[in-house]
């Protein structure tokens, strides 16, 4: 039963992911991305990481993608015309594909994936208490660093979008 669901949702996730890349209409792309997020959340549920699944839907499908759609609709982005692919794009995609293949191969061949379920550590994404505990002990530094990165990105956006006078004061 679980295997069937896994195959259904991973197929949907991959198909929707391909749809995001291939669709020329930006709204279609955004909807495909929502489909990917939802099926990834379903896979989290199958892994019994309920908390992560819910957060995935709440943050990505429920908030981030609403903002995406909002911007797409407000800017009225038209369907992008087919452009000629430059040499750099080709080189970059070949390198990207190579890295993807190496990564997948290393994950599949690694021993950790063959470990018996009983030998795995207690899952920390399943419920609130272990998740919060891990977040504020083991992963405290990565969390802080991510927070700072997001803060820097936000300040960068404000600085870029605000037109300043030569003496630095806001117009």
């Amino acid at each position: 039963m679980t295997d069937v669901f896994f195959y259904i949702f991973s197929t949907v996730a991959l198909a929707a992911g391909i749809g995001v890349v291939l669709s020329r209409n930006t709204v279609n792309g955004a909807m495909f991305l929502i489909g990917t997020f939802l099926s990834m959340a379903a896979i989290f549920v199958l892994l019994e990481a309920y908390f992560l699944a819910v957060i995935q839907v709440l943050v990505y499908a429920g908030a981030v993608m609403v903002l995406f759609l909002f911007i797409i609709m407000l800017l009225d982005v038209r369907e992008s015309a087919a452009k000629k692919t430059s040499v750099y794009t080709w080189v970059a995609s070949v390198i990207g594909l190579a890295i993807l293949i190496v990564g997948t191969a290393s994950i599949v061949s690694a021993d950790s994936i063959k470990t018996k379920a009983a030998a795995l550590p207690e899952p920390s994404g399943a419920s609130l208490k272990p998740f919060g505990y891990e977040l504020f002990t083991t992963y405290l530094l990565p969390m802080q660093v991510t927070g700072f990165l997001l803060l820097i990105a936000m300040i960068g956006v404000i600085a870029l979008s605000k037109k300043l006078n030569t003496d630095g004061s806001a117009k």
């Binding site: 309920y50 908390f51 957060i55 839907v57 609403v66 759609l69 909002f70 609709m73 609130l128």
Partner: protein, 368 residues
Amino acid sequence: MEFNPIIVKFVYAAIVVVVIMTLCAYAVLAERKISSWIQGRVGPNRTALPIIGGIPLLGPFLTRLGIFQPLPDGLKFLFKEDVVPGHVNKVYFIMAPILSLVPALTTVAVVPFGQFVTKTGEVIPLVLANVNVGLLFLFAVSSLGVYGVVLAGWSSNSKYPFLGGIRASAQMISYELAMGVSVLPVLLWVNAPGKEGTMNLFDIAQAQNGFWFAMWMPLSAIIFLVCLFAETNRLPFDMAESETELVSGFHTEYSSFKFGLFFVGEYAHMIIGSCVFTLLFLGGWNPLPFVTLETLGMDKGILGAALSVGIFLGKMCAMMFLFMWVRWTLPRFRYDQVMRLGWSILLPLSIANLIAYALIIFYLDTAL
């Protein structure tokens, strides 16, 4: 005889959905009746069923109340011509009404509506899925409801629906933040040190045996209520519709059954919102503050379960009445006022509220 548990769950889910849909139909009737009373009118009072309407005294009385009105209302949505204008984006145009109703009906799964106490004193929640992250699940799924409105506005490919959809998406994002932050004090109190972490709505309701949370966290309750009005797109926050400026907002181009789905979706969202407010702040199925069914000695067996469901539904109906009362009493905000209220009043207020209650709860947990 043992039934397949999956089939049993399907049957339960079907029953709950039917009950919610019936409640939606009668909520529409209640809206029409309450609006007419507030405006000094009579409201729907003519529709009668052949046999029941013919019973002396009772028949005319029910007809006056408009009890039979939801049936023709529903049939009207079914039998009217379904117009799909030529200039719309068909796929999204058809998908949008479904997307606005489905999340509302999905969230019902985690909403407990009563308790069943066995003879041995074991408490069983009456809920479809008793999950640990219930409240978060509810927020997550109901936040998907906005796609229905946004896509309806966009796919209609005309100016007024588009403005309605854009306004709805901005409003949803703005009020979700304050809403999420305003319930955090409740969760802080429910998850006292030493307990297993929970966001289960049943546990939250059971934690209100003494004070209801609306009584000692009134600011949280008020902020949550205001955000609930905004999230359900009800007046004074119905920016997505605002019929005096945008014709009918995001569903201007919709007719017949597709419009009916939006209509039912709005009421389903209201019903779920009322349920959640009752569970979080109004003590769930506890009859009075400091009085539970257990202290009254009426909590055991089927009778106790029916009583708890009845009390819960009663509180929910009171909340629904509040929704309608406010709609027909207050004028609509201007769009910039809605945004200012959300970002520069409700959000800072809810954060200050959270910090204050965090300090109070820390003091209560450590000093006492």
